[in-house]
């Protein structure tokens, strides 16, 4: 069974087609990089795969469950780390996680395990408003891990973080993959995608324009000595940082 199976997935916003008949599979335990310029359809795809948005056409299964028909079964099997740090700032890190254990019906003991996993045990009683960006990002990851999901969606997990914290978060992602958790990763950092992903898909104007391992993409598209960033710019014609 595939961890993610996407078939002809499409989403229209009035007259605009944000996602245009995309299809791909992700194997269990795989880190799948989903890359694309701003407005390419990454977030819309992620919202559909996490059950936040209904597709206009096509279908998808995540952890074996249909994203439209089986939303109730799907939700406890996925974890999502959003691009924006959407945590309750007036609660402590522990209380944020305690709330999630109640939502998911998970034992409270799990809080200490995930806090330890992301290195936040010592700061768990501090209010989140006092956390640094890096700490908040770790807490978001801890929240996504709390209910032991089979698939984790990470949207720009290291954006705006200093190199040390970004490195620690990449380490957590690698460890999760080793434990068999499937990772669906969107990032603007091509080096990060290259380093972490088993395979990457590049989406532009709603269509997948490349899908392969980073190594193969570099060979096929960029030529000798090229980076994933070169491949990206060549395929999309867009500078990542513009």
């Amino acid at each position: 069974m595939k961890a993610i199976e996407v078939t002809d997935l499409t989403r229209d916003y009035k007259d605009v087609r944000a996602v245009d008949h995309i299809s791909f599979d992700v194997a269990p335990g795989e880190i799948f990089g989903f890359l694309g310029p701003n407005g390419a359809g990454k977030t819309t795809t992620m919202k559909m795969l996490t059950g936040q948005l209904r597709p206009s056409a096509g279908s998808a299964k995540v952890a074996g469950w249909d994203i439209i028909l089986d939303r109730d079964q799907l939700k406890p099997r996925i974890g999502v780390v959003f691009e924006h740090q959407n945590i309750y700032e007036r609660l402590s890190g522990y209380d944020n996680l305690l709330f999630s254990t109640r939502l998911y019906g998970v034992d409270k003991e799990r809080i200490h395990q995930v806090l330890d996993q992301v290195g936040l045990e010592d700061a768990s009683n501090k209010l989140v408003s006092k956390y640094s960006n890096g700490m908040k990002q770790r807490l978001l990851i801890a929240r996504a891990l709390l209910h032991k999901p089979e698939v984790i969606f990470l949207d720009e997990p290291t954006k705006g973080l200093d190199p040390g914290v970004a490195r620690a978060i990449r380490k957590i992602i690698t460890e999760l993959s080793r434990k068999g958790v499937t990772i669906f990763l969107t990032t603007h950092y091509m080096e990060e995608a290259d380093q972490l992903s088993n395979r990457v898909a590049i989406i532009d104007r709603g269509k997948i324009i490349a899908l392969s391992t980073p190594g193969q993409l570099k060979v096929q598209t960029g030529g000798e000595g090229s980076t994933l960033e070169d491949v990206f710019i060549k395929l999309t014609g867009k500078d990542l940082y513009r």
Partner: protein, 361 residues
């Protein structure tokens, strides 16, 4: 719904409610709403006392025999005297009092009564909402004054008068205060929390969790109801002696709260920013508060117009609160009003549910 699904639903709603209750206490906007509402209740309670001029106690008299006592009382600077054509009139005006006042019936044959060694007996009336020590103090004062005028001891036996459901006076201001607390709490706290979830995007985290929009809305409604009831209980703390029928007060508060919350949820769904909310909440307060005020002005508007104002949901809530302070609770003063409130709440909650359903398509 299976047993396990029901269990999950309750667990999720309880989880969000608990989180919201804790989060709201730490939210300075919500604290401001709470303090403002309680401030209004305290002002409604104590403002009449501050505004009333210092003067002698009021004496409301029905004197069918034109007694000499009444003429002497008119000359006395120690009492502020009002006379009425009938005992019923005197009792009606007594129920409008905002501070302890004595109602007195002077018997027709009072002047002809023989003087004996026993004190002269008079029948007095006071409103039942005042404290015992305030009433005793008033009685002693009046008995001393009558003894001074008549040159003979007087004993006033007291009968307590119950407030009627449509009585003016202290119950009007107090009920307005209760309605204000209920509407402000339900209508403002919930949308504040909902807008904050939208702006901080924590709503997105909730939507990928086992919680759905219906869980979130129900949890917000529960949080709102809990806050409304706590606020009402705090408001009652200042006015406990006025509430004659606690059961009616609590039912009115609960259903009135539900009505205010259903408007609050609507605002929370439609508004995206706090600025929008504040603007529209004030616009929304006008059709809620103006009919309450206008329903009291039966001397300014035709009866038919006043009747229409009386059936506005907010006025219905206000009237239930008023009735809970009355001595008797005839069905027509609270049952139709509760029916109006329940119907309005159900209609508004259905609109809320439809908007949520539409937004997830």
């Amino acid at each position: 719904m299976t047993k396990s699904k029901l269990h999950d639903t309750l667990r999720i709603i309880l989880a969000i409610t608990l989180k919201d209750l804790i989060d709201a206490i730490k939210n300075k906007n919500i604290i401001t709403i709470i303090i403002t509402s309680l401030f209004v209740v305290v002002v409604y309670k104590y403002l009449p006392g501050f505004l009333s001029e210092e003067g002698p106690p009021k004496l409301l008299v029905y004197d069918p025999g034109d007694s000499a006592l009444l003429s002497d009382l008119f000359d006395s600077p120690a009492v502020d005297i009002y006379t009425y054509e009938s005992e019923e009139d005197m009792k009606y005006y007594l129920t409008n009092g905002e501070e302890p006042e004595l109602g007195l019936v002077i018997p027709k044959d009072f002047d002809q009564r023989p003087i004996t060694s026993q004190p002269l007996q008079l029948q007095g009336y006071v409103l039942n909402i005042f404290k015992e020590d305030e009433v005793s103090q008033l009685m002693r004062y009046m008995e001393d004054e009558f003894e001074y005028i008549l040159g003979h001891p007087v004993e006033i036996s007291i009968e307590k008068i119950q407030i009627q459901p449509e009585t003016y006076g202290i119950t009007v201001m107090t009920s307005l205060g209760f309605a204000f607390v209920t509407i402000m709490t339900g209508m403002l706290i919930i949308p504040h929390m909902m807008i904050e979830e939208k702006q901080s995007k924590t709503i997105e985290a909730l939507m990928v969790s086992p919680a759905g929009s219906s869980h979130i809305i129900l949890a917000k409604a529960f949080t709102g109801l809990i806050y409304t009831m706590v606020m009402l209980i705090m408001a009652v703390f200042f006015n406990w002696i006025l509430i004659q029928h606690q059961w009616l007060f609590l039912i009115g508060g609960f259903i009135g709260g539900l009505f205010a919350i259903s408007i609050g949820i609507l605002l929370g769904i439609l508004m995206d920013t706090r600025q929008q909310l504040i603007l529209w909440a004030w616009v929304g307060l006008i059709p809620l508060f103006i009919p309450m005020m206008l329903s009291l002005m039966d001397d300014l508007f035709p009866e038919r117009i006043v009747k229409i104002f009386q059936w506005f949901p907010s006025t219905a809530m206000f009237r239930v609160f008023r009735t809970s302070m009355a001595g008797s609770t005839p069905l027509q003063f609270w049952a139709p009003q509760l029916a109006v409130l329940i119907t309005s709440s159900v209609v508004l909650l259905l609109i809320d549910a439809w908007l949520v359903y539409r937004s997830t398509r």
